[in-house]
Amino acid sequence: MNFIRTFLAGLLVVLAAAMATPAPVSAGELEDRVKALDAKNFAGKGKAIEALEALADPAALPVLRAMQEGLLFREKATKRIVIGVKAARSFEIFDALSGEALGVVKKRKLKKISVNNRLRGRLRLAIGALALTSGDAAARSSAAKALVKDADPTILPALDRALAREQEVEVAAVMGVARAAIQAKGGEKSARLAAISALEGVLDREVMVVLGTLSQAANEPDAEIRALATETLAATEASGRYYGMLETLFFGVSLGSVLLLAAIGLAITFGVMGVINMAHGEMIMLGAYTTYVIQQVFPGAIEYSLAIAVPVAFLVSGAVGVVLERSVIRFLYGRPLETLLATFGISLVLQQAVRSIFSPLNRSVITPDWMSGALEVNAALSLTYNRLTIIIFTFVLLLMIAALLRYSSFGLRMRAVTQNRAMASAMGIRTNWVDALTFGFGSGIAGIAGVALSQLTNVGPNLGQQYIVDSFMVVVFGGVGNIWGTTLGAMTLGIANKVMEPWSGAVLGKILILVFIILFIQKRPSGMFALKGRAAEN
């Protein structure tokens, strides 16, 4: 009985809303209100946005969007409101409403209609309301999502209208949640109870906030609603915790793969060849700079820049590695400790070279669109694309390296040469080639790591130094000369760090990890994957 009444009431609301759709407004009205956006102060602009929204005319959508993105201008000469699209030092402008192209003008000719954060929020609301009727499902969905966040009852009629019209099940579901969140806040008690129940298991933080507010006596006088809200919230939070753990794991693995990526080249130059390679970080740095250069050279191909950069960085760092090996390192085999001194010198030179060529400032490397944003598993767990990409990339790289070392004849030669150079030579292995290629290979891999790291951190002359200490730590922790050890070492450190961080804080967490490494090595004096038996001695 009760249910039917609610249903009917709902239907009525929807119908009423549908009928209330305003008639198209006159073009003049729209234009005036758009002009008003160019108010003197932010308060005036806010009013203008509200006025524009009130017209509920989809034609205003591009204007508002442009305003939010800072692309709305007043052409100084004509006082026209235009949308500008940046085109090399000048702007291509379009009429704000008609979209008519008005040519290309210099930046000086335009005055930007500036916004601040508060206005941006207001704009998002307005865009949301307008976008609910947009033709694009994704836009509707994200508009509805935004509504959950800003949950404002004034939007309810528009939302209902949209819900009624919605064909896509998923979008409708999001709209339903938004509607429930809004309804839960006030109105008829039975409708509120139903709305609260409907929110169970919705992991969206905003929804939980709504529930949280409702479960507090200070905010909600009605005990029954409070009880239900508390209960719903508890159930939702429980599943949230599970996803929280998954998130921590993801963070750990992703930190682990960054460590691994940074260390893996070193696992070859240091782990396999025994060169205490202080210039390893600089090889990473070269890779990162290569990415930068590629983006500068092909500004139109940002989306592919990383794909181009990976092989190029491999070649650049690899070539530098080969040159270093042939000119310096090769004189030092049999004197492994001296490699520390020489490579330290090399690292200073490379750093300064980069400083001289690219300036000491950090360089900006752009993240391609496909790597930005996050994969929303659900509201409680979203995995950022750049991290996902790096995890996958790292593992592919790892498998390739492992396969090369283990199964290719190059890997065999490499291991033979580094274990006993003279004897390898006596077996007919071209030791000088193998040495150069091995060092070049390790350096090249470091270069590839640099491409990936350029997506996470500064690209500057100090990039290498940031990673060198950690890299050595990882290689040694895992057990020198063992790629799988390095992998497991990196993952262990990554996950341990992330598990620890929430309760110890980042600083103490890092200290604890270091202490852990020290103590661990006491237990296993040759790292995690130590070689045992006689073979280890010679």
Partner: protein, 402 residues
């Protein structure tokens, strides 16, 4: 001597080269400009550049070298507080003159140093005021674990509490230098900010850690409209190394933005571009600080007719010079400047759009009023006090080395 020597003590290598090299170039440019105008007191200026290599004790050694070996008349230099602390005894002992151009934690006023960067009350407090005005109720104070963030956050925490912010609405987080994995912290900020109240992050994160921090913010989808971040150490130069597209709307508080709409500023930028031969280079707040400091020094030297440190120092008090943002800066007797405070939002082109500005200048306060012990101390280098840390309770100066 037939030239007047200007020491430049900025790291050109090591971790700080990123920031300090620009300042070295700025001083060189200012010297060149001045020489074009005929120098000072009819003598040419000669810049003496050394590289303290981001090594703090080396700063002291180089400062001594500048003063004792090269006999410079003034030094422009330092970025980090610790490097300043390191040269301080040397400068004081040899009665040199140092212009320090970077925003810092305060709690210092040396006879021989002029602080042309912002004190906490010229950056942090106005920024928080602005955000409160924007309706922010919950605060994340995120910083690198060292003195400047610690002090600033301490000041802010007590300031926020006096403004009625509850303890549970403040989250404080410290990270090590060069922290690069921000996943957990950004995710924490996200949850902290999802509690219904409008939240902002006040960032005193230093140096290289900023880039990964902002990248993570962008990737986890935290937009400035949701949780704005206001930073005190991120300027145009830092932004030039970041893809700013995802950062639009985040804030910074400085005394200068490159985008400032003023004739002098455009002039300055044009000269900078000409000097550095790169149209893409940006200008930033510490550069303005050197610009002001340098010109004030020139004015003071001309006024006193000598480069003698004590004379020039007395001449400095009350000297004014136009800011690049319009208005004038004044050198106060506590060795700090009066300057306007600007709040800007990051734009997609890596520039800041000023969204708020103090109506007039703010007097730099060497000793903050928001910490009990330092509230009792004032700095005034003119009679009758004549010291950098006068305790108003005991009526005595303490901690002077001379």
């Amino acid at each position: 001597a037939d030239t007047i020597k200007v020491g430049v003590l900025h790291s050109l290598s090591g971790t700080m080269a990123i920031s300090e090299t620009t300042l070295k170039d700025t001083v060189l440019m200012l010297v060149e400009e001045q020489n074009k105008k005929g120098g000072v007191l009819g003598k040419k200026l000669e810049a003496v550049v050394v590289d303290p290599a981001s090594d703090w004790p080396l700063f002291a050694e180089k400062a001594r070298e500048l003063l004792e070996v090269h006999k410079v008349d003034v030094v422009f230099g330092n970025w980090t507080s610790v490097s300043r602390k390191s040269v301080l005894p040397v400068i004081e002992e040899l009665n040199g003159l140092l212009f320090y151009p970077v925003q810092y934690e305060g709690e210092e006023s040396s006879k021989n140093v002029f602080y042309t960067g912002a004190a906490p009350n010229q950056q942090a407090i106005p920024a928080v005021d602005y955000l409160m005005d924007q309706g922010i109720q919950r605060w994340v104070l995120a910083g690198t674990d060292y003195v400047y963030p610690r002090t600033t956050n301490k000041i802010l925490e007590s300031y926020l509490k006096t403004k009625g912010v509850a303890a549970e609405d403040i989250m404080i987080n410290y990270t090590p230098f060069g922290h690069s994995d921000w996943q957990t912290i950004v995710s924490d900020i996200k949850s902290f900010g999802a509690a219904g109240k409008k939240t902002a992050v006040v960032s005193t994160i230093n140096g290289d850690a900023n880039v990964p921090f902002y990248k993570e913010l962008g990737n986890q989808g935290i937009k400035a409209e949701d949780i704005p971040v206001v930073a005190f150490s991120v300027g145009e130069e830092e932004l030039s190394g970041i893809d700013t597209a995802p950062l639009v709307g985040h804030l910074a508080a400085w005394n200068y933005f490159m985008s400032a709409d003023a004739e002098v500023n455009e002039d300055f930028i044009a000269k900078w571009h000409a000097f550095i031969k790169d149209e893409k280079r940006v200008t930033n707040d510490p550069m303005e600080a050197h610009y002001i400091g340098f010109n004030m020094w020139v004015k003071a030297v001309e006024k006193s007719g000598t480069t003698d440190v004590d004379t020039v120092r007395s001449a400095m008090y009350g000297i004014t010079y136009p800011n690049l943002t319009g208005g004038v800066a004044v050198m106060n007797t506590n060795h700090h400047l009066t300057k306007p405070v600007l709040i800007g939002e990051i734009q997609s082109d890596g520039q800041f759009e000023t969204v708020w500005q103090t109506p007039g200048g703010v007097i730099g306060d060497a000793w903050t009023d928001f910490l009990p012990d330092s509230a009792r101390i004032v700095a005034d280098w003119t009679a009758p006090i004549t010291c950098g840390n006068f305790n108003i309770d005991t009526g005595k100066c303490s901690g002077q080395n001379y």
